[in-house]
Amino acid sequence: MIRVRRSAVIDAPIERVWAVLRDFNSHSAWHPAVGPSTIERGEAPDQVGCVRDFTLRDGNHIREQLLALSDRDHVSTYCILDATLPMRNYVATVQLKRVTDGDHTFWHWESTFDVPRGREREFEQLVGGQVYEGGFTGLAAFLRRGGRRNSLHAVDSQGVVATSFGGPDVLQLRRLDSPAPRSGEVRLRQTAIGVNYIDVYIRKGLYRMIEPPAPIGMEAAGVVVESNAPGFSPGDRVAYACPPPGAYVTMRTLPAAQLVLLPDHVDEETAAALMLKGMTAEYLLHRTHRVRPGDTVLVHAAAGGVGLLLCQWARALGARVVGTVSSEAKAELARANGCEHPIVTRTYSFADRTRQVSGGRGADVIYDGLGREAAQENLAALATRGHWVSYGQATGAPDPMNLSEKSGTLSQPVLFHYTLEYLHQMAGHVFAALRDGILKPEIRQRYPLAAAADAHRDLEARRTSGQIVLLV
């Protein structure tokens, strides 16, 4: 058990210091090591029992629960619930005392916890130095600033705009304004943008998420250039995947709540390729359905941007992975990425083979982005009591179907309903899987931003595999 104790004197009355510290979610505003932070389940940040979910600037992710809060004694106690750091049994107490001589504040910060043997000194320095002493300095600076931030203005941007609904030719590069970040927003200089099939649907007007002319695109990565939000500073490397469309641009202003900080091991191109598709694989395999060792998993478009990630991750979870692809070359790629049984078919016929390789059982879970054209085969390929997860409709919306034939369960999940609540957990999980070599992005196509129309042509013609990024 390690005990860490640090204390300092802050040149401000105790009431001012406590007003900040009693807010369990305030640390992203003043602590230099803390990135974005949210309180789970929408609870008040001074509610005992509330949980803060935050990212450290080094990329680590932590959930902490408020155990006690006394406004009379100026004491706050909390513990770590989960962390990507190897710390166990961490309980910390912050206590303030009034220095009547000069009206300053004495701040005592103390904790006990366990770490793997031999790493005690490293963690004593990390917690005592970067976390506690860094916090003393950060809060003192925050109070001196009085919370004020710089004045901000609109800047020039360029973006690829859908000038009307239609084919790839409607995409054109235009000059745009990037508005000044309002409270809670930041402005990014984007460096890499992810291309997704949803961009095609939006361009065609199948998903009415824009009114042309307007830029499209759902995900990108870049560097913060101006911040009007706690937890983000100029120079931070970040990424996002969220509506509304508008990611095919050079400069973007958006709410900080949508951003995640990139750990050092994740470059911006990888982040742009993985935010939407990696978090999609994350929720499909871990949240909509929890894949277990021995499950038979059927992945359509197994060599596609999401498909490859599903194959890699499902295989790492111990599943038997069956996938459909449109060519022999894609079958090879899928096989190399964990798909034990790739099925080459351009006519959506895969049910017999799926049952065959699973000893007649069928697929315990089907990840279906195809929709209408493959619906009958999917029902035939589904195991009894299987789970059919329809997360895309490349061939149109399926007709209603009789799932009682298999006692099947149908889910129609949408990524953004998951990121609404679990963004930082999901992104953290994806980055960890990337670090551990479970996810291996296959960025096989890179286009300049101005050539976004070419990217769409190739994607629609099934000429692409893996992830596609636009570079700024």
């Binding site: 005392k97 009034r98 009547t100 003393f136």
Partner: protein, 145 residues
């Protein structure tokens, strides 16, 4: 019952400050207002229950009993047995806490006592500032860097 609380930061290590204040018979060495002091019945000055009998520079005599003394917590407490102050049920505590930033000392001194209601403000000022803060100021000069 009223409570008086005084605290300050002394620019010296807690060990050095504690070495001054842990001597229950040492008031003449570090406070500006005590002329002389002795421990009654020849007891050692760090024995719980011992009584110090001291004379102020203005002539008043005070007897106080040591109630607790902890070298681990840098803390001691005592009660007044007799004094010219006009207080009852007076218990005071002096506590030091290290300030790791700058290797300094956070010193706290508080007292709880009963007195005539019309004297509360006057006594709070006299004890909080005239005694505790004045003694702290003197400690800062003795131990401070």
């Amino acid at each position: 019952m009223i409570k008086v609380y005084t605290s300050c930061v002394i620019d010296g290590p807690a060990d050095a400050v504690w070495a001054q204040v842990r001597d229950f018979n040492g008031l003449p060495q570090w406070t500006p207002f005590v002329a002389e002091s002795r421990i009654e019945e020849g007891q050692p000055p760090d024995r719980i229950g011992c009584v110090r009998n001291f004379r102020l520079r203005d002539g008043g005599v005070i007897r106080e009993r040591l109630l607790t003394l902890s070298d681990y917590d840098y803390q001691c407490s005592y009660s007044i047995l007799e004094s010219p102050l006009g207080v009852e049920n007076y218990v005071a505590t002096l506590k030091l806490t290290p300030v790791t930033e700058g290797n300094r000392t956070f010193a706290e001194w508080w007292a709880e006592f009963d007195c005539a209601p019309e004297r509360e403000a006057e006594l709070a000022e006299q004890i909080g500032q005239g005694v505790f803060q004045a003694a702290f100021d003197s400690l800062k000069k003795l131990v401070g860097r």
